[in-house]
Amino acid sequence: MSLSINRREFIAGTAGALAFAGCARPLRREASVTIVRAAVYSQDLYDTVRRLLTEQKLNVRGKRVVLKPNLVEFEPGSVINTNPLVVHAALEAFRALGAADVRIAEGPGHRRNTLDLADAAGYFETIRNFEDLFTDLNLDEVSRVHVARPSSRLRELYLPQTVLSSDLLVSLPKMKTHHWTGATLGMKNFFGLVPGGVYGWPKNVLHWAGINESIADIHTLVPRTFTLVDGIVGMEGNGPIQGKPKPAGVLVAGRDMPAVDATCCRIMGIEPAKIGYLRIAGMPETIHQTGERVEAVRTDFELLPMLQSFRA
């Protein structure tokens, strides 16, 4: 998907592709994923992230970009939340690439006081004027969207206007294991788009509709995405909250979210085909790897006993 096309062109192109798909074999899907080494959270990240976005040939000039980190719990210094330096580096990089507006937005699933959570996670300290740049997606204006071809029991879903009006939504997850789904990465991070102000804390409607299926459905509702995974220090074991820090020393990025998530799984020593939401969303037939090779950076994340079958 090119980001240099406008909304009308995108809709026309999608309609054309669907019409074509109706009378021919599905288009072969290819994706590009970049892996870069980043051993520590340091000032070098600003240059690293900018190089990574340039490598991915993103055209965001004049676009409204929304960065969606993963904010979960109040534990300063822990590895639960996306590190604020990664978010700030992305903010600066998208600005440098000419984005008209770059906002940060998140809707945590358990804790209601999002600004206090962001403060405890170091966002206020790291990102100047953070509160002005931030939207609490749990409390944002909402619109109801129809789930066109649901995999889950969801038929419609309220989503925040900040998300729906963005030109590019950037998932900035932490690389973590997840005790229900196996791994939480770019796609699972989008649970945080669903407004707690409507559905509550936790957003239990997604659990009842099927966790893996809901993750896949939400992915279909936001077509213009980019993913940058904070895998510098991830979480292994009983993630996404009670696990242990796991230094993986990488940032992983790309425009095809399932491709990025699948690549991260391989780095973590997890078989992507075992991840339910990746099976439902579908992974590209070909992933063009740039930067580091998966084999060079693979570091197996400890898995809970019931997830041992997920090991690659």
């Binding site: 109040f74 358990h110 804790r111 209601r112 006081n113 600004l115 206090d116 959570l117 403060d119 405890a120 509160e131 002005d132 609490d136 409390l139 204006e141 909402v142 619109s143 109801r144 309220y158 005790h179 102000g197 409507v198 559905y199 509550g200 804390w201 936790p202 239990n204 409607v205 659990h207 009842w208 009983n238 009670q242 809970l304 019931m306």
Partner: protein, 304 residues
Amino acid sequence: MDDGRGNTDNDVDPAAPQTHAALVNALAAAQNPDGGWPYCRERHGRKGTSWTEPTVLALLALGPQGPVSARGFQWLRSRQQPDGGWTPQPGVDETTWVTSLVALLPSQSIGIENSHRALGWILAQMGTNSTFWYRLRESLLGSHGAEENPGWPWFPGTAAWVTPTALAIMALEKAAKAQMTDEIRRRIGQGRQFLITRRCADGGWNHGSSRALGYDGTSYPETTGAALLALRGVPNLDRSIAAAERHWRECRGAEGAAWLKLGLLAQGKKVDAWPPHSAPRNIRDTALCLLADHAQQGANVFVD
């Protein structure tokens, strides 16, 4: 100079007033022209949509008198749904947990008949995993996912959780003061039992998942405070009160501090000055802090 809530003279946000009078003024000024209140503070001259939760909390904090409250009650009355409940905000069609909050307001201000309809809606709700059909299904499957003690969900058709259950119990307690019925008594008892069974190993409460996959969950300040409010009068809460006092010392954020203060005061505990880092950052938390201050003065609207 530190103001006791984590702000110093050098970094006090002028939009985050600290004194009681300033909090009241800030709350009144945040009212939307339609009479409701948004969650978030005005930014760049733009106010947000009115939501039910901050509107109810603002009205509880400001009291029923005066033109500001009159406009707020008018907005709320206009928002009641045909099923007797309230939606979270006008752009949402589904009636939810916020109905329990509305039911905490004085009946006269909403209308006696309207309050009865709200009560009927609350009594008709329960977590899906406590419904007859779900329990039957679990029984036939030999599974153990059913919840014996029905609590209340955030959103219809989902499971029960701590905060909506605590608020529903408080709403029913208030209704019971006018007229206790067997159904109200039963649901309060079941709701309290639900809270007891969802208590974390550390004595407090989180959102409602005290143990998963063999691992203990840890409690939160805000849910521990709300549960203690709903469990006022229930014996053997020493461990929970100790957890709340521990949270109070370590709490970061106005929401958690306000609910802890309300809960500890309801349990007859003395609460001193606000902990550091507890300045309210949105309208809801501003109202909650005022309500906690009122409770310290002897008027706890959640349980009195």
